[in-house]
């Protein structure tokens, strides 16, 4: 589904942030991208989700070479991913409902179906009763759940979460991780970056990055 071959990423005026990355992620896998701060985890996720382009090397997503993707084709590719950010990136001048609605509006979804899908997504993360509230009134964990609802509302085939539990206490973090596991169980590819792998009984793949290079860790069960 996702395949990196000898991928390098360098920002102007910097050393290589990622070096010679080659990896493969299959559909429906649960993948943890681990490593210390500044190792290149976020950059790797940005490359997977076509937010950034590699300096060299090739990235394939569903047999499509992302390096050859035109600028105006990028938004349509990004719609295939559900993105969850460490800082949530919620819109604080809109209600929870309107935040979750945004991807559907972008996707040009059927207007008559939008309300139902937004509520289904909110229900999935346990925020249905808070649809009319503003995100600022929610706790950190709830805000992250709202971000997940926004990511899943357009039913993406890949969920990408950049340190989704970094600022949460253990209870909230477990809650969030369980939501991700539930998506993986229904066939969604879930890619999560984290300093370390949270305790789980799920089958997962770890991609450990150290100083921009990938150290493959065998699949655990």
């Amino acid at each position: 589904m996702i395949k990196f071959t000898n991928v390098y990423k360098r920002y102007p005026g910097e050393m290589d942030v990622l070096q010679d990355i080659s990896l493969a992620i299959n559909a429906g896998e649960l993948v943890f991208v681990t490593g210390s701060s500044g190792a290149g985890k976020s950059t790797l996720l940005k490359l997977i989700s076509a937010v950034e382009k590699p300096t060299s090397g090739t990235i394939f997503f569903e047999n499509q070479n992302l390096s050859y993707l035109k600028k105006n084709e990028m938004p349509f590719l990004r719609r295939k991913f559900g993105m969850i950010f460490q800082d949530h990136k919620l819109l604080y001048d809109r209600t929870c409902f309107d935040n979750v609605l945004l991807p559907l509006a972008i996707n040009d979804s059927d207007p008559s179906d939008i309300g139902r899908r937004v509520r289904a997504a909110l229900n999935k993360v346990g925020l249905l009763e808070k649809e009319k509230l503003m995100p600022i009134t929610l706790s950190g964990g709830e805000q992250q759940r709202l971000a997940i609802a926004r990511a899943i509302v357009s039913r993406p085939s890949v969920l990408i979460a950049d340190e989704p539990t970094a600022n949460l206490d253990r209870g909230y973090a477990d809650e969030i991780m369980n939501i991700f596991y539930s998506f993986q169980q229904v066939g969604v590819t879930v890619i999560i970056s984290s300093h370390e792998i949270p305790p789980t009984k799920m089958k997962y793949k770890e991609l450990h990055i150290s100083k921009g290079s990938l150290n493959n860790v065998p699949l655990l069960t």
């Binding site: 349509f76 990004r78 719609r79 919620l90 040009d108």
Partner: protein, 303 residues
């Protein structure tokens, strides 16, 4: 089609929300656009009224051809037939000197003997209307006539109306240029305002881009904001014009009673009013389009 309209409806609502969120700034923007546009439109209104007055004056180029006092009857006949044949001549009226003299006497209520005028001082004259207003043709026609024997003097009448129209036309061009300059200023001002707005909504722009929004989708609410600014500004312009007209006509009514005549101003037609609003909305749209495009371009550079 329904989805397309829904998308635009969504963007319009977002535009309205943004305007409401910063309603003081929005009202200021309406006023800036309204006052700026009212300058050229007031000028245009005045010119339009002046043009209407000048158009009411029946104008066609008229020539008064005064003949030699000693001209013979055969020569007069020759000139008459020559003028008749000329394609530039629309109407001819011949005024024999005796008739003209009688008319003058009747008008001034005098008799030649009492007033010491022993001889008719007036010549025979042709008064002709031309079917052209082109200066070149008229000048060439006059110089041809001057070459004919028996013509003493030729006077071109009604030239002042033409001069007035030319002056009004020049002023109109001046106002159009001024209008274009002011619209450019407006575009710059609105661009700056929307640019500041894009900074406020940078988070939204960034999130939208990350989750797959096209540039058109991100720009659309800003474009609607610009259109609404233009609509509000255009309505303010019409309001200002109305106030100016009503105030002027109130005073004009009183002056008319004293001096007679009609000096009240007419307002713009519905079509012209709509045109003003469209111009304002276009300025708003183009400015917001530029500002939003720049904001997205900057953000793209960050990635």
């Amino acid at each position: 089609m329904f989805r397309f309209l829904h998308n635009h409806y969504h963007a319009l609502i977002q535009g309205l929300i943004r305007i409401r969120a910063n309603w003081i700034g929005s009202v200021m923007m309406f006023l800036v656009i309204g006052i700026t546009l009212s300058l050229p439109t007031t000028g245009f209104l005045l010119i339009q009224n002046a043009s209407q007055i000048s158009n009411k004056i029946q104008y066609e180029a008229e020539l008064s051809i005064f003949l030699d006092k000693e001209i013979k009857a055969e020569q007069v006949d020759f000139l008459h037939s020559a003028l008749k044949k000329n394609s530039l001549v629309k109407k001819i009226h011949f005024e024999p000197k005796l008739v003209a003299w009688e008319k003058l006497q009747a008008q001034l209520n005098l008799s030649s003997i009492e007033d010491g005028v022993s001889k008719n001082p007036l010549p025979d004259a042709f008064f002709i209307s031309l079917n052209t207003l082109e200066t070149k043709k008229i000048d060439s026609f006059v110089s041809d006539l001057k070459a004919l024997e028996g013509i003493e003097e030729i006077v071109l009448d009604g030239g002042w109306v033409k001069k007035l129209r030319s002056i009004l036309y020049l002023i109109k061009i001046g106002i159009v240029i001024l209008g274009c300059l002011l619209i450019t200023v407006l575009v710059v001002v609105i661009t700056n305002t929307v640019r500041l707005q894009t900074l406020t909504y940078q988070n939204e722009i960034e999130v939208s881009r990350l989750i797959g929004a096209t540039n058109a989708f991100i720009q659309r609410p800003f474009e609607y904001t610009g259109l609404i600014y233009g609509l509000g500004g255009g309505l303010v312009t019409l309001g200002i014009l109305k106030i100016i007209l009503v105030s002027f006509n109130l005073v004009a009514d009183r002056v008319e009673n004293l001096i007679g005549g009609n000096i009240t101003l007419n307002t713009f037609s519905v079509e012209q009013s709509i045109f003003i609003i469209i111009i304002a909305m276009f300025a708003g749209w183009i400015a917001s389009y530029i500002a939003a495009k720049q904001a997205i371009h900057k953000l793209e550079k960050n990635y």
